[in-house]
Structures are given as structure tokens and as C-alpha cells.
């Protein structure tokens, strides 16, 4: 060995002696090593977090991509029947911005909902009486919000705003914030999992891709991990063809033994973290067959969720998987369901959409109740904006289309410390403007963070010269009326 490497080795030995017995077993170091921009708590969250005891330990967020029409499902507007094919009054529209898909329309004829509505539950929530027979039964478990509003009017900026608080993609989404601040509650699965369900009607889908669940300026470990119903559930979770498990286990052991030598030589905490991540990867691999094997679910599960739940990728199947992940203490489960962008043919598309989600949502609420998880699991349901009362394209008594409408829309939450049976917010007769208790998405975010145990104002990351918050720079408030 030539001189320079000789010196190097001597120095290394010296360093090793100086490190003394401080090896891999050191717990203090282990805690120190749990990387991140700020000091971490023992489960990988931030030190000092949560700010107070959380009501919701986990979140299952069911995003309806495209923007469901609030007045066809939850925002009952009986007066509209008299307005059929009459023009939306300027006094209601007030020159507000439209998308260019309808801004050129000569007329804005009102399209009353073709569906019957009825009041459900003790709370008396008005709901579509034809398409949601199961969800009706949960009316008193659900916290209804009829006055959400956003600034965004096109899909991508609107989904980004709903998930990251900012219309421009590239900011961390809710799930990343949860993972970053609170850490992981389990040892063998990611903290933040994303699943995309396949709708039974695929007439007009929006692209759903990783930019929506990126960790933005937070470390990559907080990005959503896509969990797929086809192919590998988690990317590369399965061994390459021909690699027997026994061989693989030895390989991982071999890697970690060699990494230990590197760690002993150079003492870089990153090496230690990498050893831990290979252990975690091995546990993820080991847990996957059991997790994804629905054949062990009892028959009554499929009675509850419906037979659809057996079909990989269906919404029912994905929601059942969400429950299994929640049971295993995955912190944040983001689910997308597509094809709610009903510019035309509401009549032809709405029934399939509702059929996809009605039973599984009911099942999830009841399943979580049976398992004693409803109290600390927050379910969120809703799209990125609402839809217009006026028709886009052709209008008849039985069919119509609706354009994007950011000024008011309905979402709901259940469990996780929310107030069952609460009905918050009111819109005008046209479901066009909010007349009572507007709920901006930043207030909605502040409220979700509150349920997770955060003070949204004290939860920020410095980036591009600003203290970045999920709730943005403008004042946001926790809406107490939504809390149990």
C-alpha cells in the first residue's frame, strides 16, 4: 500500500479508537440519526410535535377527481325547478370568472338537479335520494360542509390547491406534512400511502400522477408512496425473477454487514440510516403478502363493502385496502377516484360514480366503528371544486352538463374528532354564492391540522425566503363548529 493510503488507514484507526465502543447499538446515536431538517421525535416526527393531543391519528382522504356537482348530491336547491332553462341572473353571477369552456356561451340556462332529494338522519341533511342509499344511513356520522371555496378554476391548479394549499404544484401535500410533522406509527410500512382507484365509468378522466403527492421542498421520505393494485403494490417490492427469498435475505444481510464496516470506518450517520432503511425494506417486503391478501378477509367484509371489493383497483377494493392500511397504522392514506368532471351527460355518468362510492363509504365508516377506529381515524371526502348550476352544452329536463365552479362546493368528513351530523355553511338558491359560513380551503386545512394535533400557525418550513405553511400566508382559522 502506498504512503498516502497508509496515512489514511492510520487516521482511520485513530478515528475508530476515538469512537471507542460507540457502535451500531447506541440508542442515543440512533435517535440522533433519524434525519430531517429539524430534530426528530422517536417515531421520526418533529420534536415538540404534535402541539397537543391529536383527535385523529390517521387520515383516509377520498379525493373525487374532477369535482362532483354539489347541487346534484348534497346542496339541495328546490327553487331551481322553477328556473329551468331560464338564464342565470347577472345579479347572481356578478361577472365572476368562468372557464373558457363556457365563457363564450350565449346563455347560462339554469339546469335544476334532476334528482329527488330527501332529509336524512336526525340532523336532517338533505341528500340525493336516488343515488346514495347507503350513505344516507351515515348522515348523522358525517360532518357536512356545504360552503367550501377555492380560487382555482382549472383541475390541476385546483387539485394542487386542495392538497398543498397552493395552486402551483411542487409544494408538499397534506400527507407529506403529516408524515413530516408526526412521523410514522408503524415499523414496516410507509407513513403516507397513495392509491388510485379505477372508476367503473371512464368517460372523462383527469391525469393523476406523482406530482400531486410529492413531498415538495420536504425530504423525499415524506412523499406519498404509491400503492398499486396491479403489478408490484409498491414499486419494486418484489424480488427480481429468479431471486429466491433465502438468497435475498442473505444479500440484505451481506449489504448491511458491509455497510457496518463502512460505518465503523467513516462514522457517517447516513450509513447508519441506510442500514436501517434496508431493514425496513426487508420488513416491507415481508409484510406485503399478508397485507395484500384479501382472501383472509371474512365473508361479511365483502357483504359490507360489496362484491366489487374483490376486484383489484375498484373503489371498493381500494377503500378496503385503505382500512387494512389504517389498521396497520399507516398515518395518511390518500385515495383518488376519477371521472367526476361532468361537463356533459350528468344523467349518464352520475349513477355509476355514486354506485362506485356509496357502498364503500358507508362500509368504511361502519367497519371503522366496529373496530373501534372511527374515533381516531379521519375520513375526508370531496373534489377540488364544485360545478355550475347553469348548463354547459345542451340542456333537457333529464340531462345537462356542468362547468367548473370554485365559489362553493360540498365536502364531508367523518370520524377523527369531527362532529357527526353537523351541517356547516349555506349557499344561495343557485348554489352559486355562499351566503353563510364560508369555508376557504385554508380554513379547512387548518381544521384538519388541528385534528391531527397541530397548531397550523406554528407549523412551517423555511423555503425560498419564506416560512412556508400548508395554510399559506393569509390568515387561516380552525372551524370549531366542525369539531366534536
Amino acid at each position: 500500500m502506498e504512503a498516502m493510503d497508509e496515512i489514511h488507514v492510520q487516521q482511520t484507526r485513530r478515528a475508530f479508537l476515538e469512537r471507542g465502543t460507540l457502535g451500531l447499538g447506541s440508542i442515543a446515536l440512533g435517535a440522533l440519526l433519524h434525519g430531517g431538517e429539524k430534530p426528530r421525535n422517536p417515531i421520526g416526527g418533529l420534536e415538540g410535535f404534535p402541539h397537543f393531543a391529536p383527535k385523529a391519528k390517521r387520515v383516509i382522504y377520498l379525493h373525487m377527481v374532477g369535482g362532483p356537482a354539489q347541487m346534484d348530491l348534497f346542496d339541495y336547491k328546490p327553487v331551481m325547478q322553477k328556473w329551468y332553462d331560464k338564464d342565470l341572473p347577472d345579479s347572481v353571477r356578478m361577472g365572476q370568472r368562468l372557464t373558457t369552456m363556457t365563457s363564450g356561451q350565449k346563455r347560462f340556462p339554469v339546469a335544476p338537479s334532476k334528482y329527488k332529494f330527501a332529509q336524512k338522519g336526525q340532523c336532517g341533511m338533505w341528500m340525493n335520494d336516488e343515488l346514495l342509499p347507503n350513505l344516507h344511513q351515515c348522515a348523522d356520522d358525517i360532518c357536512w360542509m356545504r360552503s367550501l371555496h377555492t380560487e382555482a378554476i382549472n383541475h390541476e391548479p385546483a387539485i394542487a390547491a386542495m392538497q398543498t394549499g397552493n395552486q402551483i404544484t411542487g409544494r408538499p401535500c397534506l400527507g407529506s406534512w403529516a408524515s413530516y410533522g408526526l412521523g410514522s406509527m408503524n415499523e414496516d410500512l410507509p407513513a403516507f400511502v397513495v392509491m388510485v382507484a379505477t372508476p367503473s365509468n371512464r368517460e372523462q378522466e383527469q391525469a393523476i400522477s406523482s406530482r400531486l403527492w410529492s413531498s415538495g421542498y420536504l425530504s423525499g421520505e415524506h412523499a406519498g408512496v404509491p400503492f398499486r393494485s396491479k403489478g408490484d403494490p409498491i414499486l419494486y417490492i418484489n424480488n427480481p425473477d429468479g431471486v429466491p427469498d433465502a438468497v435475498r435475505q442473505r444479500t440484505i444481510k451481506g449489504i448491511n454487514e458491509m455497510n457496518e464496516l463502512t460505518y465503523q470506518e467513516l462514522g457517517d450517520p447516513e450509513t447508519f440510516t441506510r442500514i436501517r432503511q434496508y431493514e425496513m425494506a426487508a420488513r416491507m417486503q415481508a409484510s406485503m403478502p399478508e397485507l395484500t391478501d384479501l382472501s383472509k378477509e371474512p365473508e361479511h367484509t365483502f357483504k359490507l363493502y360489496g362484491e366489487e371489493a374483490r376486484k383489484p383497483g375498484s373503489f371498493a377494493n381500494v377503500v378496503l385496502m385503505a382500512r387494512r392500511l389504517a389498521e396497520r397504522n399507516v398515518r395518511f392514506i390518500q385515495v383518488y377516484h376519477n371521472n367526476w368532471d361532468h361537463h356533459g351527460n350528468v344523467n349518464g355518468r352520475m349513477p355509476a360514480q355514486c354506485k362506485d362510492v356509496d357502498r364503500p363509504c358507508y362500509a368504511l365508516i361502519n367497519d371503522l366503528k366496529q373496530r373501534g377506529m372511527f374515533e381516531d381515524t379521519l375520513i375526508i371526502w370531496g373534489g377540488e371544486f364544485g360545478r355550475t348550476i347553469y348548463s354547459q352544452g345542451g340542456l333537457s329536463k333529464t340531462n345537462y352538463g356542468r362547468d367548473h365552479h370554485p365559489r362553493c362546493f360540498t365536502m364531508w368528513m367523518a370520524g377523527g374528532g369531527t362532529k357527526g351530523g353537523a351541517i356547516y355553511g349555506e349557499t344561495d338558491d343557485f348554489s352559486y354564492n355562499i351566503v353563510k359560513n364560508p369555508l376557504h380551503i385554508r380554513d379547512f386545512h387548518a381544521t384538519i391540522l388541528h385534528l391531527l394535533g397541530y397548531d397550523h400557525e406554528r407549523f412551517s418550513v423555511k423555503y425560498q425566503g419564506l416560512d412556508q405553511r400548508l395554510t399559506g400566508v393569509e390568515k387561516a382559522k380552525v372551524v370549531k363548529e366542525l369539531l366534536a
Binding site: 496515512i7 429539524k38 425530504s219 396491479k230 429468479g242 442473505r250 467513516l266 457517517d268
Partner: protein
Amino acid sequence: MIALRHKTAQSAFIICFMVFLPAYASGESAPSGIHWAFVKPQRPSTPPISNTKWPCNDIDRFVLKQIEDSSLQPSVETGARTLIRRLHFDLTGLPPTPADISAFENDSKADLDSALEKLVDRLLSSPHFGEKWARWWMDLAHYGDSDGYLTDQLRPVAWRWRQWVVEAFNRNLPFDRFTIEQLAGDLLPGATTQQRIATGFLRNTLSNREGGADLEEFRVLQVKDRTSTLGTVWLGLTLQCAECHDHKHDPFPQEEFYRLYAFFNNADELNINAPLPGESGKSAPAKIAYDRKRHELLEPVSDRLEALQKRWEAKLLDTENNPGRDHHWDRELELLGLIWGGNLGEGQLEGLNILSKPWTQRTPIESARLQDYFLRKGSRIDEKKFKELRIDELVEQLGELETNLPPITRAPTIVKHHVYRPTHLHTRGNFRRPGKEMQPATPGALHPLQSQGTPNRLALARWVISADNPLAARVVVNRLWQEIFGRALVITPDDFGIRGARPSHPGLLDWLATEFIRRDWDTKAMLRLMVTSATYRQSASLTPASLARDPDNVLLTRYTRQRLSAELVRDNALAVSGLLNRRIGGPSVRPPQPESVIKESFSGKWEVSEGPDRHRRGLYTFIQRSAPFAQSVTFDFPDNTRPCTRRIHSNTPLQALSLLNDPVFFEAAQALAARLLQEGSPSTHERLYRAFFLCLARAPLPSETARLEKYLAAQTDILRNAPEEANAMAGKPIEGLHPPVQAAWVGVASILLNLDEFVTKQ
């Protein structure tokens, strides 16, 4: 998980204060009252130090001064083998070969300093140098091969700018010219095609072609992106904070954002012919023939066509001025903006720009292009006439003619708008609420812009990179430093403003900045200084004591280990296994990736590249913005909607799964095993020795050899009992070798490609 070095651990914080604040207060660079970064750097004298033997160049004097002031010591010099691997990654992004290593070791026996000079010279003149540093620059430009947003259409010509960047780094284009050509190459007197291609830098903004998108809204967003990109990349300022209101911390009123915006508000997107060598020769005669035949084809109906097209244009222009009167024509106008050049990467508004030019001011190319569009999409003006003139047949014949034109490479560029487009302040950032008119001007808190009359983009570019600019040189050397040392001198490389971090080594930063200017913006010279410094040559070894004292290595008492970037992790595996295709330049390629990822993009398509294109370097991988390459994402490929000034280096279980199971890494393991088994000595010991040199640029320790030999024996045993698996795992059979043995070596190769050391520069 992120390394400790990113922690704002309290101890490091205290060190920062102890170390540089006193130096600062002594007035080295900040006259009272003005924020340090807004004052032009003065050349500091090198500080006095005790250990005069340690420094290799002036960088080290500044570094050592602070180390000595803290009563610490630098680390010893690292070994030659570690050093050459480090240098190879930093300068070319590729690992050294065993031959490179032994050549350097031989040279360094005689004289390390001159061996190092020679090595650095060789690497700086390697054509791979440009590849490595082009990717660094692409992060800032937020390069992508598609539009972004919902429909995320393709930009199959975006790479032409990337090629320019690779070449610019390789020929060491001085950074001032590098800057001017990218911001305003089109405005240079007698602008060459190359200089115009350079403006492709400004074409990396997103384009929204979603139905219903407001064209002006998204054009405005592009202009805002260009404005804030200038701020981030050259000024290290968060100018975008002044988009809606006055900057909360820095002295930039909202008006100044729009004065800067005004420079870019007059920049239009335009794709041009940018022939590669050899293309022009074939294409020129074919184009002449095409033009002649086109003329012949259209001549019989040309008068009637012209009259019809003029009616169509008049209708569109009228619609633009009076929107909302006719839904169909609103839609026609919108379509012209939405579909023009879709999936070809042409400027989205090129068609509208031609339309708004008087007929007589259009170039022949512009006239032909708008005519092409009109013939294909303009029938709404008069369906009957379109039938009468049999335009569909003409279109078909034109299409046939076009197939005879040899393809010519095009490039995205920027040109000045044909008339002056006035800029108004956007009240609260909303372009629908125009405030008073804003003339182009640069921020008042910075050095003045010298110009006669209304300054244009070229004047702005010269202002940005002027020697009077207090920021540009500092901001750029800071990022070069960060790329080499892993931690920037100003740890907020995108924010040199009042709320940004203070430099850990103010004197060094200013020395480097002034040196950069003194050396006429010679980027390679600056990198040479950094990598030949004693600071760079230190060992990466750390102790609990040094870790506790300075976890972030603020004081540079050691070399900071850094995980390789997403691209380099893959490049490295391909290189050591012999799979890497080292071809330089050309269009982006699409290596295989899982179907489930492909399906996530709007188009759901990913035409997998064939043959050696599957194994190109990562910087050539097609970037579909809505569904970026899966392996890259796992290794922290940045969001590319805005400039990325600092890559995150996370450490996650998904990375472990990728390195273990992603077919490309497994294929590399098989190829590496085959290489070890087929090349060189048949002794296990020798093979392991060679494997270590290939992958880690060093010899194995006896303990490592022992472990791997044991592993080999055990794996071979398991695989002997699983012949089918062994065959699959081994890959392509090697004659005369038992598949279980070959498969066990694949296992060894996989271990090496998964090591922390393998994916780390140390």
C-alpha cells in the same frame, strides 16, 4: 432520512455565530446599514494563519483561519484512490476505471500535486464534464421534455437546448457569455443559430394546453416564472415574493417586480431550425423543391384561398377583441392557442403571434405555417367554400409533399414580440386587475443599469452579469461550491436577501466571487481551484467528537460525504457493469420503467427506447413532467416547475427496494457478475479485488473478502438446490460456468451495487 448536515442543530448554529460574526462585525464586507449581499464584494486579503504548510491555494487560507480560530484542526489528506473517485464524480459524474486508478497512483508516487493537476486537467477536458455540469444547470433552468400541467404534451425538441449547455460547459464558455446568450442570445448583433438556441433556457417554463385554460393567464404565468427564475438563478433573490405585494423583508417594492417582468413580457416563444452537422446539406435542396411544388399545388386557387384566409383571420381578430359574442369563434381562437404545435414542442402562442402581425410583415415561413394551420383547421369560416376548393385534398397532397422533406432538428428559442407589449402592475398579483403602466427597469436597491432609451432583454442580461452586480458572482460561486463540497457557503442558495443565511465564510465567498470576475468568468478555472485545494483533499472520516462539535461540517474540518444524485446513482451502476452507453448528446431517451408509472401520465404512453439507448446517462432520460422517471423520483429528482437550487439527499426504504429490485440495477448486477467472471483471473480472491476496484475504487479489506467468500459459498449452496431460480438469476449463461455459481456472483455484484459507499461520494 436526511443527514445530520442539514440539521439546524443548535451547536452548529452557535459555531456559525462564534466564527464568522466577529469577522463580519470587523467590517470585512458590510458597511453599516446596507445588507451585506447588496454591497459589491471587495477583494479581501488572505488572512494570516499559523499552519502555513497546509494550504494548497488561497481557498485553504480562508478555511484554515476559521478552523484555527476555533482551535480545531483539518483532517488528514485522503488516499489517492478515494481522491480520484471523488474527482471523477465531481467533474464528470462517472466513476474511474481500474486503469485510471492505477495510472493516477503511479503518477502520484512521484509527485502528488502534479499528478493531481494532470488528473484534473484530463477530467476538465473530458466530454463528460459538460454532461455532469449541464445537469447541474438543468436543475436551475427546471428543464423538462413536456409541457407540464394536465395534458402535459411532449416537447420533443427541448433537448436541443440541453445539447447547447453540454457543449457550452465543454468549451468552457465564459459564464458572462453563457448568461447573456441564454437570456438574450437572439438580441446579440448578428445572432448565430447557436446563440439563439441558448435562449432555450427561457423555454423551460410550463405550458397549459388544458381545454378551458385562459391563454393569457398562462402566458402571464410564464413571464412571471421567467422573472422569478432570473431572480433565483443569478441574483439569489426571492423576487417572486414581490409579485402580489411589496417584498416583506427585502427592499423590493411590488412595482419593481413588474418593471423586471416588463423585460420578459416582450419575449415570445418561437421554434427555429437548428440543424445538426450534416442536416443542412440534405435539407436545403429538398426545401427548394418542396416550396416549388407547394406553389404549383396552391397556385390555381391561391387568390380564392387568400381571400378566404383573410376572412378567417379577420373573424379571429374580431373575436379576440370582442370575446363572448360567439361561443364557436371563441373556441376557434382558443384552439389556435391550445393546439398549435402540440406534442411538437412548438411555442404555444406562435400561431396567435403570426395572426396578430400584419400580412405584409410576416416572413415566408410564418405565412406558410399559418396557412398550413388555416387549411387544416379553418373550415368554420365557410364550410361550403372549403368543399368547393377541395381543401381536404390539398391538405392531403401537402402532407405527402412534407414526407419528402428530410427532417431538420428544431430548437425552442425566444424572440422579441413584434410590437412593444406594454406592462401594467398586477394589483395583488392578479393580471385581470391591471394597475399603472410599468417601464422595464432593474431593482433600485442594486447597481444601476446603463442604457440609452428603453432597455431591452440584452441590456438586462448585461446588467445581470456585470462586474458591478454585488450578487451574481457570489450566487454562482456559492452554488459551484455547494455542488463540490455538499454544503454551500450561504446555505440558502436561493435567498441572499435579508432573511437568507449569512455566509459561513464571508471572506472566502467574496474572494471566490472576485476571483471569478478576475478570471473572466472562467468556470473551469474556479472548479479547478476548488478541487485542488487542501480543503477538498481532506478525509471524510469523522468521530463522535467532531460530529458533536460541528455536525454540519460548517468549518470544513473534513470532507462531507454526499449521496450521489438520482442520475449518477444509475450512471454509476451502468458504468461499473459495463452497460453504459457513453454517447454524448442527442434527443432524450426512454429507458424501461414499470407500466403502472407510465399509466399515470395524461397520455399514458412511454415508447421504450431500444438497444443501447436503454443505457444512456441519466441526464438524457426523457422528463415527462407529470410522471417523471420512477427511479429518479425515488432518488430525489427535483420538482421541475421552478428552479431547484439544492437537491435533497434523502435515504429511504424505497431507495433500497429500487437498488435491489429495479430491473436496471438487477441487469447491472448480472452484467457486472458476467464481467468479473469473464474478464481477468479465475481466482475468487482476484475477482473480488477487481470488483472492489470497479465499484469502489479501492481494494477490499481482508474482513470484506472473508465475508463475501462466505456469502458466495452459502449462496451457491442454496442455488444448487434451486436450479430454475439459479438460471433466471444468473442471466445470460456463461459457457463453462455452473448457473448457481454465476447466480451467486450476481448476488455479490448486487451487494456491491447496494452499498452505502457505492452510492456515495466520499
